[in-house]
């Protein structure tokens, strides 16, 4: 039997914008850590530039943005493009929070892989990351 080398998946959990609702972000961060991922939490009130630089510095596999303030259409593209332009092209992009249904397809077109809205379970998020995080050699 072949033995797989298990890479430690690094996840950035970020709170961009002025939104202070961090219950979800903290619960997710803890659940991801309990699932065995390496989790970096940015803390609150991050500008898009701050999130991009954290993603690059930590060379993360996954960028998870938590936004409950309605500012996602303005903030997400800035972060997405910033991270890609800085060379982290294969990172998995997740958004969680209060995202109206009609905003989800445009976010996905811009490169967000998955949007988790209220009611999503921790297990779903963990499983999604396990299945889709990029494998780097």
């Amino acid at each position: 039997m072949q033995k797989k080398t298990v890479q430690k998946i690094r996840v950035l959990v970020a709170k961009p914008g002025l939104d202070g609702h961090d219950r979800g972000a903290k619960v997710i961060a803890r659940a991801l850590r309990d699932a065995g991922f390496e989790v970096i939490y940015t803390g609150l009130h991050q500008t898009p530039e701050m999130v991009v630089s954290a993603a690059i510095q930590e060379d993360v596999h996954v960028v998870g943005l938590s936004i409950l303030s309605g500012a996602h259409n303005a903030l997400v593209p800035e972060i997405l493009n910033g991270v890609r332009d800085a060379g982290l092209k294969d990172a998995l992009f997740l958004v969680g929070g209060i995202i109206p249904d009609e905003d989800i397809p445009p976010l996905k077109e811009q490169g967000v892989h998955m949007v988790f809205t209220p009611g999503a379970s921790l297990q779903e998020v963990v499983d999604y990351i396990r299945q889709h995080a990029p494998v780097r050699s």
Binding site: L18, R23, V27, R33, Y41, H45, S69, H72, I98, P100
Partner: protein, 558 residues
């Protein structure tokens, strides 16, 4: 056989028969707990009351009298129904002004203002930090000009206004007082409540500007100034709502909220004020969550505990200082995006608990608030929910109808004791400011939030439509209110015009006075009033203060 033995025997024999019955109908889950995970007894009897040493006169007394367990008014809702106060605010001042007028026309009795994120954080609509956030979660107010439009045509002497703002609350208060002054409203006719509870921002809501100590200093400035000049203004609404929404249990919500209240009391006393000069104008704001009895017990325990603390710990003599007057809001976090019409029912049950708990004022959430800001129609249903309870259900006819229930009284005492134990731990840390700086309440809440989420995933707690009774059919779409980005553009243009038109010299001079007062540690109310009247913007004033006080950063622990 003595009376006691008779009772014991009858209880024992009942329990034997119970065991038989349970063979047929075993208990559904393994544990029966409240929403906050407190064990709930199968049955309460007079023994539960004697176990907690229940004494009617001491523990309940009469309504409107110490310790106010049964309510702060002598005739409660027979004299005056609770204030129905729906929180509103979105987009621009004009649009919120229209919503205010709609609510007033439909019988609402007080206004309540929600501000957008940039305003809450002390940024103007044209700041780069405001990108995408202007008018989204509330109304955008960057200067006195916006405040004038917000209350246009609403006589401020005839309404009570609540304003949900904290970090820059002192600036927004000054704008409101300036509008009232322009309308010619006498100072003692200015009524309402400023949330102005910065401590719970560091604990839960996380919209802060300055480090903890200077920020608390600003709160005390408003208390000191308004207790002299605006005798009917409530300076602080000490808020458990956000603490609960962030994941606290009912006991933690109560404990941290009262601990915050004690923090303001301590700091006001340090300024040389006397307890009875300011305590009567402190007010509270609690969440009202899913678990009916736990919530009723929490409101009753809150009044009793605060009254004791004010009288016994601080020697307050004025009964108004002992009274915990509170606003309540149904739990936003309990609303579900799945099957959103169910939210109407949740809100009704929660509203009923707040009223059975004796709240003085209530906001009922709209069913669509988990999706977006509420539409006019859903806001109306939420208001009608309160009116149906008030006018049709009969519960407002009688005071504290659950008082005396074996279960409720034992639970009230238990909630009170557990909250007091937390307050004592905080005292041992040196008070609430020190405990926040250590991250204690923050960590306790994060633990509870995680615990609850695990229980939800294990289906130990059930949310209908989320982890049980889900429907597979497509989500029934609600019409939601959409705030488009043109609002941001319009607000920027307006600000640009304001900056062009105003007298540059006057506003710069006024900002210099704010800076000097801050550096000298003076009460900042007079200088900020001057600055808002010269149309200095919110951010200009806040940046001036940031220059003196610095900014707050939280370590990102989870």
């Amino acid at each position: 056989m003595s009376e006691h033995e008779k009772k014991t025997t009858s209880r024992e024999s009942w329990e034997t028969r119970l065991k038989e019955s349970e063979k047929k109908n075993p208990p559904r889950p393994a544990r029966f707990t409240t929403w906050s995970d407190m064990e709930v007894p199968l049955l309460s009897t007079p023994e539960d009351l004697s176990a907690v040493g229940f004494d009617y006169e001491r523990d309940l007394g009469y309504p409107g009298e110490y310790p106010f367990t049964r309510g702060v008014q002598r005739n409660m809702y027979r004299g005056k129904l609770w204030t129905m106060r729906q929180f509103a605010g979105f987009a621009t001042a004009e649009e919120t002004n229209k919503r205010f007028k709609l609510l007033l026309e439909h019988g609402q009795t007080g206004l309540s203002t929600a501000f957008d994120m940039p305003t809450l954080m002390g940024y103007d609509a044209d700041s780069p930090r405001s990108l995408g956030e202007v008018g989204k979660c509330g109304v955008s107010v960057s200067s006195l000009d916006d405040m004038e439009r917000l209350f246009d045509g609403i006589p401020l002497g005839d309404v009570t206004t609540s304003m949900t703002i904290n970090g820059p609350a002192i600036v927004i208060l000054c704008m409101y007082l300036a509008v009232a002054e322009k309308q010619g409203v006498p100072k003692d006719k200015v009524r309402g409540t400023l949330q102005n509870d910065i401590l719970k921002e560091y604990i839960a809501q996380k919209e802060w500007l300055f480090p903890v100590r200077p920020a608390v200093g600003l709160v005390i400035d408003t208390i000191e100034y308004c207790s002299k000049h605006y005798p009917n203004w409530n300076n602080v609404s000490i808020s458990g709502y956000h603490i609960r929404e962030a994941g606290a249990t009912a006991v933690q919500e109560l404990a941290f909220t009262l601990a915050d209240g004690l923090g303001y009391v301590e700091e006001s006393l340090k300024r040389g004020m006397k307890i009875d000069e300011f305590a009567p104008r402190l007010s509270f704001f609690f969440d009202v969550h899913n678990d009916f009895f736990e919530e009723v017990a929490k409101f009753r325990a809150a009044r009793r505990l605060w009254a004791k603390l004010m009288r016994e710990r601080y020697g307050a003599k004025d009964p108004r200082s002992w009274m915990l007057r509170t606003h309540a809001q149904t739990a936003g976090v309990s609303l579900t995006a799945q099957q959103p019409y169910n939210n109407i029912v949740r809100v009704a049950v929660q509203a009923l608990a707040a009223i059975m708990g004796g709240t003085n004022s209530l906001h009922t959430n709209s069913m669509d608030e988990t999706l977006a800001l509420p539409t006019d129609e859903s806001v109306m249903i939420a208001l009608r929910t309160q009116q149906i309870i008030a006018e049709e259900s009969g519960v407002a006819n009688v005071i504290d109808p659950l008082g005396g229930s074996y279960f409720i009284e034992a639970l009230t005492t238990r909630v009170e004791r557990e909250a007091l134990a937390y307050i004592q731990r905080i005292d041992e840390m040196g008070g609430i400011i020190e405990s926040i700086e250590k991250g204690f309440p923050q960590a306790e809440i994060a633990n509870s939030a995680y615990h609850f989420q695990k229980q939800l995933e294990a289906k130990e707690k059930v949310m209908v439509g989320v982890n049980k009774y889900q429907t597979t059919e497509a989500k029934r779409a609600l019409d939601t209110l959409y705030i488009d980005r043109s609002i941001e553009k319009r607000q920027r243009e307006r600000l640009a015009e304001l900056r062009r038109k105003r007298n540059a010299q006057t506003h710069q001079e006024s900002l210099r006075q704010v800076r000097e007062a801050a550096q000298a540690g003076q009460n900042l109310m007079p200088s900020i009033l001057g600055a808002v009247k010269s149309y200095a913007t919110l951010q200009e004033i806040c940046d001036t203060l940031r220059g003196v006080f610095g900014i707050y950063r939280e370590t990102g622990s989870f």
